[in-house]
Amino acid sequence: MSIENFYYLNILGEIKSLYFPLGPNGNGLFCRYDIVTGDDWELISGTKTGITQCANGSRFSDEIVFNMPIECTFKSTNIYGWPQIIFSIYGKNLWGSEVNVGYARMHTCFITNEKRKTEPLIIRAPIIIPKATNFWSSLINMITDRNPELRDPKILADGTKTKNLFTFSNGGEVIVSLECIAKGTDKLDFDH
């Protein structure tokens, strides 16, 4: 095995919009994204994190459009630890303070340029909202119109740490369109 056994993965796309079938519980929504990878992955260009603008929906559609670009390139030797994107969504509540509206997690697209159909891949990640587990905090959450927040949202990308988390969802989705370009995967003899 030579030391040059790595490949490049270029991820590009956009956070298209948020979709709330029952209406969003907040206005002036924005989301922060973090790209989480395994230990063998190295960021070559672009940024792993970003914050979108404050967006409001219109009366004529259920979608809140962001049109936020995502672009980064990774260098890796391994498929394990494939990049995942964590979205933390915030908005203004009834009292005008900024609160968390939910989280979403997704893997970036698995299909690279060879298997690509004509249009980019649309991924819809469900929005998950943490829930207070005792009565008094859920009462206070109801009065202050605030949801509990995760101290470190990156635990969502790790399957072992969400065991004691209680969540609910309102059917909301983060809609992302992504494309992947890989370089050097042939050398590693992958079938994908």
Binding site: N78, Y80, P126, I128, G159, T167, N170, H192
Partner: protein, 177 residues
């Protein structure tokens, strides 16, 4: 050694009568297989969703396996549990599926079953979400040898998305079509 990377997520559980669901999953493989990196078992967060009987987990799966032969192809088995107001949980759905044998992204929709209550008392207890039967011998879920001993009822479905990458399979002349 040929290698397999399994990536994906347990997306949701649908059409379950019970509220507050979580899944316990694990991946087993035969004796020729070796787990190299990643977790081969786990438990999702509890989703307290009661609107239109859909619970979203979006729980990540990321696993790296190596093998010396294709016998004992890996299987994913999932148990769905329901939590009641007293934080007691009981199984409401059991299922397994083989990891897809073709490279690429797969959207799997797995139908589940659970153990049928045998007496009237048991069925009343189950109606009030205070307990169903669980399986002690977990290999009953993914093997077919002793299935004839149990009586079951069909339950909801679990949606799983898996993407499978193969490495060095062409080198050992294993073809997929």
């Amino acid at each position: 050694m040929a290698e397999i990377y399994i990536l994906g997520q347990i997306l949701s559980a649908e059409n379950f009568r019970e509220p507050n669901l979580f899944c316990r999953w694990n991946i087993q493989a035969g004796s020729l297989w070796k787990f190299i990196e990643g977790e081969s078992e786990g438990q999702t967060a509890t989703d307290c969703n009661s609107i239109d009987q859909k619970s979203y987990f979006a729980h990540p799966i990321d696993l790296h396996l190596a093998t010396r032969g294709i016998q004992g192809w890996p299987k994913l088995s999932i148990e769905v549990f329901s939590v009641n107001a007293l934080k007691q949980f009981c199984p409401v759905g059991i299922c397994f599926t083989y990891i897809p044998t073709k490279p690429g992204l797969h959207h799997l929709k797995i139908a589940t079953w659970r153990i049928a209550p045998q007496t009237v008392l048991d069925s009343i207890r189950e109606k009030f979400f205070t307990g169903g039967f669980t399986i002690v011998k977990k290999d009953l879920i993914h093997t077919g040898l002793e299935r004839y001993k149990i009586a079951t009822i069909s339950s909801g479905i679990v949606r799983v998305e898996l993407s499978v990458f193969f490495k060095h399979f062409r080198k050992y002349n294993i073809v997929f079509d």
